[in-house]
Amino acid sequence: MVDSLAAAIAGLQQVLTWPTPGYLLAGVLIGFIVGVLPGLGASAALAFLLPAVLTLEPIDAFVLLTATSAVSAMAGDITSILLGVPGESTAAAIVADGHALAMRGEGRYATGAAISASMMGALFGMAVLVAFIPFAPSVLAHVGSPELAALAIVGICLLVPLSHSDPVKGLFSGALGLALATVGLDPFRAEPRFTFSQLSLSDGLGLLPVALGIFAVAEALDMIRSRDLHGGASTDAGRSVMHGMQESMRHAGLVFRCSTIGAVIGSLPGVGASVTQWIAYAHAQTSMRHDTGDDNLPGSGAIEGVIGPASATTATHGGAMVPTLALGIPGGLTSSFLLSAFILKGIAPGPAMLLPASAGGRLPLVFALVWCTVIASAIGALLGLGSLKWVARLASVRPALLFPVILTFVLIGTVAERHATADLGVLLVLGGLGYAMSTLKWPKAPLMLGFVLGPLVERRVLLSNTLYGWSWVLRPTVLVLAAVAIALLLAGRRASRRRGGRAPIAREASASRADVVMSACFAAVGVAGLVLSLSLTGRPSVFPRIAFGATLGLSLLQLVLSWRKAALIQPARQSLAEGSKHLIRLGWFVFFVANAWLFGLVIGTAVSALVYLRLDAKESWRTTAALTTVLAGLTWVLVVQLLQISDRGVF
């Protein structure tokens, strides 16, 4: 105890001894900037900073990297809420409810809640790190493929509560997410599945192209629709930042549960914040109050949908550091950079890290990282709140001007993840899908949950089967997790019953002929997927057949339901005109993507913005030229200078 206290004080001294605070502030600023800018993630920033580690003092290097990754997740929430575009791949779950709140004029309220929940999550994650790290080696030694498989299946069961506003569509959306996750080389024999001989699809669909396509493109295209209005998301009306922060306090139980989800699940290698945010989001759906009307439906602006994922994401950071420090096994992508930095500085993480300095350990360094995260999160939160006024101005810019800017960031983010222009094709398809789902009010969050959990379920279930046969389902931990899954299913059913009277609003709005067409298209996708999976044999064929089979079955069921509804409703007269407007919006999206693919991001987005601003938005030449030049310059700085991508189009 005395040793721990001495180490905590020594750790704080290390962080506060100049020039370390300077590196901490630099990390906070870098993390804030990459977090706020859509598409630029913490991993890109850490890769960029890693060479600097070679020349810095060890403590300065670790503080720089830790502060950057700690703040970026928090800052990403601001963009997700105000612009509807995930600032980070780990801030995608917050878009659904956070941006809906912003569109209702509650941007400050939602951002206040997100920042305070993030702060609490970060503190919780660090508390878990300090408390759990001594036991980590023995606990993690009992976590094998069966336990991870059961955990992933529990996550899949969360599709039920996540889908309670429209069960068939929600479950279909989840099944489609699982099916999309099977694209690429199978994890066992490296056999190509649904790659259509495209090398770029061999590693599957990237998380950012999928998240940006499903959420951000629809949001950007909505800006064309509302370009005659003044401003998209508003922050001026509605409740204040302080109200949002108080809301997080009022939901302390939810923050605690979601932080636990983040820290505990995040401590398992391979399960990062991209997964925990969605599990927390799904859990938050089961925790919603039932006395606030239809605004509290999932994706309609429920504050629980903001607080849950915000706290889980930052808590994951602490959880992921547990195996990194205790075992030298990186808990996630960002902690793998920290591990690289340790190695570069000649420090071997492992149980010895936890011994006091007098016994040859590095406990003061562990505490220094904890302090660094706490201080960086606090400064990041203040920075976020302080800059909200400025960042929020973006949201009050006319949508006509904002549309090309947002779409440019979406394109940059898509290419940035894997430096692959082929991912623009993925964005094109999924952007169209996301827009159609948004327009027809099909739930999108289950698709993301299915997509992020799919690989984990497939890999771990089949590994468990290879290693243990079916006896793995009888392991004690697996049985406990199965009980949790059943409890979640029952909770979802109870919530669905309680909401039974209000859900039809969403259903009736979507019960149209377009729904019939959409269901038929999805059924065709299911059939095509099943037919293609017939050419696969053995283990690689199992999961695709289940996923596409579920996609087909649920889309056919929805087809029947929509057909019945459509028969009861008179066809709307303006449907043709409305349809052509949708096509025009999608046309602009295709135009931007095609130009980026043909001419590269810098020239392509500049050309697209120029044409759009003049022809469609009818801006003056002066504004068009100025905005186009700014966009081209900004894209050049981000793409060529910072991300160091070879920005060459087909030409």
């Binding site: 890769a47 060479p51 160091q644």
Partner: protein, 337 residues
């Protein structure tokens, strides 16, 4: 209004900056004997933060100083398909001007020969073969080759998939030396494998010496076999080649593991690159790999450096191509089940 007022001066400043950069870039590639004012790009086919990336980033820090004109050297990650996306990019999208070099990785001799690497690229050299060693967990009870040979049931080995060195080396060794083995593929990465060992769900793994020092060195893991003619300090285990019983076993090991070792990490430029630049790049790499500062950084990062020249690598590839029967055997041994 405020936004518009800010946009116009910013736009002018950026336009001036863009013109300056365009003029600067026009000088690029003006001469094939100097890299002055240029930027050299290393394309890595694996994600940032991993061992391949780490190697390229340490190299990037020093390589420029050994090239005439001292260009900036940057690393671009292009992960996917076990490095194949980076290969295709270098083959089809890159100008053959010596300003973009690729870090390639091959583990299967048969696939390397089939890829016709020498037709599309000039090999520049390899920083050296990271020797592979076979480790067994405490729980497996296997501490010697004899115990492995007489194990009551085939020990389970972990790998991420057929293109991983952890898949190739143990399967070839088992076939050549008559050892029992069950290969379990499907683990995402080294961290996953390490966790599986700790949880007792697999018995053994083959890792590079780099990975051993950074992630697998533990009192619970015992080295049993090495794939390296040279002794490894601190790891007193037999060399696989020394216990191979006959000529066929030795040829399988040599072709499938030993000759492939330096090709797990090597550098190339596209064919068509001016010969003068190829020579300058080869010379610069050779000088960098013996630079004491580079070696100190590499050692700190746990990276083994034992350079192999371009000529030696090209000879290796040619020799591999002249062994079609052995390549057929290797393909059968490595066929996923």
């Amino acid at each position: 209004m405020l936004v518009r007022r800010a946009i116009v001066p910013l736009a002018i400043a950026l336009a001036v900056l863009a013109c300056a950069v365009a003029c600067h870039s026009a000088e690029d590639g003006a001469s094939s004997t100097t890299f002055s004012g240029s930027q050299l790009r290393i394309i890595v086919g694996f994600r940032a933060g991993g061992p391949y990336d780490l190697h390229a980033r340490v190299l990037a820090k020093y390589l420029g100083s050994y090239l005439p004109g001292h260009p900036d050297v940057i690393v671009e990650n292009m992960p996917g398909a076990a490095g194949a996306i980076a290969v295709r990019h270098l083959e089809t999208m890159t100008k053959a001007d010596g300003l973009t070099i690729g870090q390639f990785s091959h583990t299967s001799a048969a696939d390397l020969v089939a890829s016709n690497v020498l037709d599309a690229f000039h090999i520049l050299g390899s920083p050296g073969p990271p020797a592979q060693i076979v480790l067994f967990s405490d729980r497996s009870g296997i501490t010697t080759i004899g115990a492995w040979r007489h194990a009551p049931k085939p020990p389970r080995f972990a790998s991420s998939g057929p293109s991983a060195p952890a898949y190739v080396a143990p399967l070839v060794a088992a076939a050549a030396l008559g050892l029992p083995i069950q290969m379990v593929s499907g683990y995402a990465n080294g961290a996953d494998i390490r966790m599986a060992i700790d949880a007792g769900e697999i018995d053994g793994v083959s890792v590079s010496l780099d990975a051993y020092h950074t992630s697998f060195q533990s009192a619970d893991l015992h080295a049993v076999l090495r794939f390296s003619a040279a002794p490894i300090p601190g790891i007193d285990v037999p060399d696989a080649m020394s216990i191979a019983g006959d000529a066929r076993a030795r040829e399988l090991l040599e072709t499938g593991v030993y000759m492939m070792a330096p090709l797990v990490r090597f550098y190339v430029v596209p064919r068509g690159t001016p010969a003068a630049r190829v020579a300058l790049l080869r010379e610069a790499l050779e000088k960098t790999w013996v630079d004491p500062h580079f070696l100190a950084d590499a050692q700190a990062a746990g990276l083994a450096i034992d350079p192999v020249s371009a000529a030696a690598l090209e000879q290796t590839v040619a020799t591999l191509g002249a062994r079609p029967a052995t390549l057929r055997d290797l393909r059968a041994i490595l066929e996923p089940h």
